[in-house]
Symmetry: C2
Subunit: 236 residues, 2 copies
DNA sequence: ACCTGAACACCGTTCAAGT
DNA sequence: ACCTGAACACCGTTCAAGT
């Protein structure tokens, strides 16, 4: 009857279109109202059509987080570490504020997707370029991560075993290949992850001492408060 | 047939038993697997029986958060502000770590329940007792809140209008009564909330300047990093 | 290669009824 | 006063089938 209309609305679906639509829908209706069925409806498609472009809802959320992380500006060049870091943190904050659901979504993800790893890697790069030791960079990443979002805690930890599933055994050669790939793409992260506990020859690291990281940031803040208090600081 | 068994398992339900069961269930199976139906099953009761003790699932989650907040130790007396604050933050952290779902649950709540308000009030009290100005206390609360969990941002804001619902108009006399009640129970919070913008006579305050709070904490950390860097700090 | 339709095993919550 | 049972309008995801 109206063939060109049919043709117009039947744009071919692809992963990117699915993710973009999901982001817009979450912006409009909130993350709790974002369902596979509703998203499909928005795209004029039957629910199951989405599953050709996205494994399941978890992977959809991973993809949405990737979209948001890619909105963050790259590091500013030719400036000191402090203003580079400051600008980038504020840029990340702006991205999160554009999408009110993003904070919660990020915090619920346990997978580290490439965009997230890339962000962390270039972030560590700013500090290392500023002359920070790998050690200090590591702790600073934890401390600043808590400011922007809550998920940095486990970034360098071993993948947490999924509830109810036996942890997958990865053959040694696959592990070695993965480490090499990681080293190529995320050299700073690998440097940090391998710098501790290298006495036992493990390349992966043993997860961070959560308690230490927490108190590290806490004490920095407490000392800061004390200094402001002593000098009679006021916001006006 | 077996009347005493029937009697034994049919313990009368009440709000507390529901909340405790919900907390245990979430501890065991995770927050995403906690459903009203599953909780009812755990309590040997039909799903709808829960709704006599809890308005709906949102209120169930509010109640679970209350349970966790009540696990936090009260402030330690007869010590300086710094170690009082430090101990209490670490106690809060321990409570959250006992219940891995709690962080996410807290962050998803927008209601401020009495236990949460009470916690914040006595927290502010530690700083005020240490001689901090109301102004500095206010910003410190924001900065430290971000360390423990992510929800302090909106604590002093006006209640965010619920999506899709017209904001409820509260009669002036009801507002006045509420403020007086708040002043009785949460004097410190009210002091903080009313100290800013008092030039226009509003008692409620206008929400905080998010951007200012964020940069306040960020710059404290950046200055801290800089100091550690300059003095060649190392974690060993 | 991509999309569909029906079906399954779940949700939160309403309503009217039972004790 | 407290609990029940059936029903409604949703979920995410499987499977086998269509083009």
């Amino acid at each position: 009857m109206t063939p060109q209309v049919e043709v117009e609305r039947r744009v071919r679906l692809n992963r990117d279109r699915v993710l973009q639509a999901a982001v817009s829908l979450a912006d409009e209706v909130g993350i709790e109202a974002l369902s596979m069925r509703r998203l499909a409806q928005e795209l004029d498609v039957v629910p199951m059509a989405l599953y050709k472009h996205v494994e399941n809802k978890e992977e959809l959320l991973d993809g949405m987080v990737e979209v948001i992380v890619e909105e963050i500006d790259p590091p500013i060049r030719d400036t000191d570490w402090k203003s580079a870091v400051r600008q980038r943190v504020l840029s990340a904050r702006r991205a999160l504020q554009r999408h009110p659901w993003a904070r919660q979504a990020i915090e619920s993800r346990t997978n580290k997707t490439p965009a997230v790893l890339g962000f962390m890697d270039s972030f560590a790069g700013m500090l290392l370029a500023g002359g920070f030791s790998v050690d200090l960079t590591h702790h600073v990443m934890h401390a600043i991560g808590g400011r922007m979002w809550g998920f940095t805690q486990e970034l360098f930890d071993d993948a947490a075993p999924v509830k109810g599933e036996a942890p997958v055994e990865v053959p040694a050669e696959v592990r070695a290949a993965t480490v090499q790939q990681m080293q190529q793409r995320y050299p700073n992260i690998v440097a940090i992850a391998t710098s501790r506990n290298h006495d036992d020859g493990s390349v992966v690291g043993h997860g961070c001492d959560d308690e230490f990281e927490f108190e590290f940031a806490l004490d920095l803040l407490l000392d800061g408060f004390e200094r402001l208090h002593e000098r009679g600081w006021s916001s006006r």
